[in-house]
Symmetry: C2
Subunit: 436 residues, 2 copies
C-alpha cells in the first residue's frame, strides 16, 4: 500500500476505533465500568481475538498487517500515532504525580505499598520461575533472571492514573482511604517501573548496554531533577501571559517531553519513562495549564489508538490448551492474592478500618492501562511470548473489571471515570507553599 | 529501520521541529512576522533546501527518506501524524468558517472576491498554459486543462485562517475592512477548493472516476447539510453536561471528522475537504467547545509536523537555471498582480477608502498555509513537478511574508498571530439567532 491508500485507511481506522470504544463504553456504563475499561476491552475485541475471528477478511482489510514489519501497513500508521498518544498520556500522568500525598498517612502508605510490591513480586517471580522452567511462555533469548523480574514487575504495577481519577471523582482525595491508596499506588508504580528498567537493561545482554541503560537512566533522572527542573522553574515566569501559559510555553513543555522520550528510548529504556519524569519535574503552574490543553485530544483521540494497537497484538486464541488456561488462572490468582489481598491485610495491620482497607485493596488491585503499557514493552522487545502476553492482557482486564463493582458496593453510588475531573488546581498553591 | 528505531527517531524529530519552529519564530517576531510564517519557513529550512544542503549526512540521518516510498522511513512516521494534524486543522478552519459575515458589506465582499478569483485565475491559467506549452514543469500525464486549472486555482487561494486570525487579533472583526476581507476570503477559498476538486476529478483520467469525484463530492456536501447537520443538531443537547461539551460529545465530533475525511479521501478528493465541511456543519456550541479542546495540541504539535513534511518535499535547488528563476518571478508577479492588486482596485471601485482598500488587497494576497496544502496535494498526486512545487512554495512564502510589514504600516502597531485569539463565542448566539 502506498501513503495515500494508507492515509485513507487511517481515517477510517480512527473512526471505527473511536466509535467502537464509545459503543462498548455505553454497555460498560450499565455495569458501572469506566470508559477506560471499555477502551481496553475494545482494543482486544477489534484485534484477532474477536473481530479477526468472526470476520477475518474484513478485519484484515480494515487493519492490514505485515508480519515481517518491513513494508508499510496499518502498523506503520497506528504505531507512531499510538506511541505519541502513549507518551503524551504518561506525560500527563507525570504532571499529575504527587509526592506530597505520600507524606500524609505516611505509615499506612508505606506499609501498604511495601505489601503491594513485595507479595506480588514474590508470587509473580515464583510463577515466572515455574513458567521459565516448565513452559515455553518465555522466548529462548529471555533468561531466568529476566523472566522472574519481568513477571514480578508486571504483577506489582498499579493503575495509578485510573486510581487517581477514581479517587478524585468520588471526592475521596482528602480521606484516609484516598490518600493511603494514592500514596501507596505512587510508590508501587515507581518501584515497578524501576524493576522494568532493570529487566530492559539486563535484556540487552551486552554489558556495556546494561551500563548505558542503568547509568543513563540514573543520569537522566539526576539531570532532570538537578538541571532541567531549576531551568524550567527559572523559565516559567517567561512562559506566562496574564496568568495563562502562552503557546510558546506549551511548546517548551512539549519539546522537553519529546527530548526526554527520545533520550530514554535511545538509552534502551522506553519513551514512557522519559515522558513521565519530564511531567513530574515540570513546574506545577506549567503542568496545570499543559494538562488542560493536551488532555482532551491525547485522551479522546490518540490513547484509544494505543489500546487498539495493543489489542491487534493480542491473540487470546493462543491460550488454546487446558494447561495454558491453568497458567492463566495461576497468573490471575497470583495477581489478586499478591496485590489486592496483601494490600487489604497490610492496611488492616496499620489500623485502617475494614471497609476502607478493603477499598484500598481493590483500588490497588486494578492494573488498568499501566499493565498494558508494561506488557506491550515486554512483547515489543521480545521478553515475553505472544501467549504470555495474551495471558497478561486477560489478567489486566479482569483485575480492572473487578475494581468498579466491588468498590461501588463498599463506597456506594456507581462511579465512572468520565468525564475527566478538572485538574487539581489546589496542588499548584500547595506545591508553591511546599517549595517556599 | 524497524519500528523501535523509527520511534526513537520520531521523538527526536518532533523535538527538533518544534525547537526550530520556535527559534525561527523568535527571529520572525523581530520583523513583525507571525508564528505561522515562521513555521512555513522552518519547514523549508529543515528540508533539502538548506539543512540538507549544509549538512546532508546529518539531515539524512535525522530524516531518513526512502524515495521508493515502500519501506518504513521518516515519511511513514511523519506523514500520518502530519495528515492527522492537517485534517484537525482544516476541521478547526471549518468550525470557524462564517457564512454570516459575507452578508454584511455584501456588495464590496462579492466584488472583491470576484476580482480575487477571476484575475488570478486568468493570469494563473495563462501562465499554466505557457508553462505547459514551453516547459517541462508539468509531468507528462498532466493535460492542458488540468495544468491551467491547477495553476489558476493555486493562484486564487486565500490564507483564510491566517486572515481571520489577523483580523480578530487586531480587533478589526467589526470594521468594514475586516468584514469585507473575511467575506471575500471565505468566498474565494470556497471557489478555489471547488476548482481544485475539479482538477483532481479530471486528473483521474477515468471517466467513471471523475463522476465518482464530482458526484461523490456534491453528494457528500448535500448529505452533510441535509442529513448530518440536522442529525448533529438533534444530538447536540445530549452531548452537553451543564453547558460544557462532554468527552463523548468531543469524540462524536472527532468521529464525524474522521468519517468525513475518510469519505472525501476515498472518492478521490482529499481528506481536507471532508474535515472542513464537517467542521462547518457542526452545531455552533459543539464547534466552540471542540475548537477549544483540540486546537492547542493540533496547532502546537501536529501542524508543525505538516510544515516540515511539506518542507522535506521542497527542493529550492531544482530552480537552477535563469529560465526557471524567470518562471518563478512570473508566478510571483501573476500572484501579486492577480490577487493583491486586483482586490485593492476592486475594493476602491466599490467606494472603500484608499487605506482600507490597500489593507484588503494585502490581506487577500497572503497565501499562507492554504497554498501549501493545495500544492502538496498537487505534488502528491503528480499533477505538478517538484520544480513547479518549489516555485509555488516560494510564491506562498513571499506573498505571506509581504503581508505583515505592509499591513503594519497601514494599520499601525505590529501584529502577531500568537497567542491564538479565543474562539469567537459571540458567533454561537449569532448563529442560534440566525437559525431561530
Amino acid at each position: 500500500m502506498n501513503n495515500l491508500q494508507l492515509a485513507v485507511h487511517f481515517f477510517l481506522q480512527i473512526a471505527v476505533i473511536l466509535l467502537a470504544c464509545r459503543l462498548v463504553g455505553l454497555v460498560a456504563k450499565r455495569f458501572g465500568q469506566p470508559q477506560v475499561v471499555a477502551e481496553m476491552v475494545t482494543g482486544v475485541l477489534l484485534g484477532p481475538s474477536l473481530f479477526g475471528l468472526l470476520a477475518p477478511e474484513v478485519q484484515a482489510s480494515l487493519f492490514p498487517w505485515d508480519p515481517t514489519q518491513t513494508t508499510r501497513d496499518t502498523q506503520s500508521y497506528l504505531f507512531p500515532a499510538s506511541q505519541l498518544g502513549l507518551a503524551l498520556y504518561m506525560f500527563i500522568v507525570g504532571m499529575e504525580f504527587r509526592v506530597d500525598i505520600v507524606k500524609r498517612h505516611f505509615k499506612s502508605s508505606v506499609t501498604v505499598s511495601a505489601a503491594g510490591i513485595v507479595t506480588p513480586f514474590a508470587l509473580g517471580g515464583l510463577l515466572g520461575w515455574a513458567m521459565f522452567e516448565w513452559t515455553d511462555l518465555f522466548p529462548e533469548k529471555t533468561n531466568l533472571f529476566e523472566a522472574v523480574l519481568f513477571l514480578g514487575a508486571s504483577m506489582s504495577i498499579t493503575a495509578f492514573p485510573m486510581l487517581a481519577r477514581i479517587i478524585h471523582f468520588k471526592g475521596l482525595a482528602g480521606t484516609r482511604m484516598g490518600t493511603v491508596a494514592l500514596g501507596a499506588g505512587a510508590l508501587d508504580d515507581a518501584a515497578a517501573w524501576c524493576l522494568l528498567a532493570l529487566v530492559l537493561a539486563s535484556f540487552d545482554n551486552d554489558y556495556s548496554h546494561a551500563i548505558l541503560n542503568v547509568g543513563g537512566g540514573i543520569g537522566f533522572v539526576a539531570f532532570m531533577i538537578l538541571v532541567a527542573r531549576p531551568l524550567l522553574h527559572w523559565l516559567s515566569p517567561r512562559l506566562f501571559d496574564k496568568g495563562t501559559l502562552t503557546e510558546t510555553g506549551l511548546v517548551v513543555a512539549l519539546i522537553a517531553m519529546a527530548l526526554s522520550a527520545w533520550f530514554t528510548d535511545l538509552i534502551g529504556l522506553h519513551a514512557v519513562f522519559g515522558a513521565f519524569v519530564c511531567g513530574a519535574v515540570l513546574p506545577r503552574n506549567v503542568a496545570r495549564d499543559t494538562v488542560q490543553r493536551i488532555q482532551p485530544l491525547a485522551v479522546s483521540l490518540l490513547l484509544p489508538l494505543f489500546f487498539t494497537y495493543s489489542g491487534l497484538n493480542t491473540r487470546i486464541s493462543l491460550i488454546d490448551t487446558p494447561f495454558l488456561w491453568l497458567m492463566c488462572g495461576a497468573v490471575l490468582v497470583a495477581a489478586i492474592a499478591g496485590k489486592g489481598i496483601a494490600c487489604w491485610l497490610a492496611a488492616r495491620a496499620t489500623g485502617v478500618p475494614q471497609r476502607e482497607a478493603l477499598g484500598i485493596g481493590i483500588l490497588m488491585n486494578a492494573r488498568g492501562l499501566m499493565e498494558l503499557i508494561i506488557i506491550n514493552i515486554g512483547l515489543q522487545r521480545g521478553i515475553i511470548s505472544p501467549g504470555l502476553f495474551a495471558t497478561l492482557v486477560i489478567m489486566a482486564i479482569v483485575t480492572t473489571l473487578m475494581a468498579s463493582p466491588i468498590f461501588d458496593r463498599l463506597v456506594g453510588k456507581g462511579f465512572t471515570a468520565e468525564p475527566l475531573p478538572p485538574f487539581d488546581t489546589d496542588r499548584d498553591t500547595a506545591g508553591a507553599q511546599a517549595r517556599s
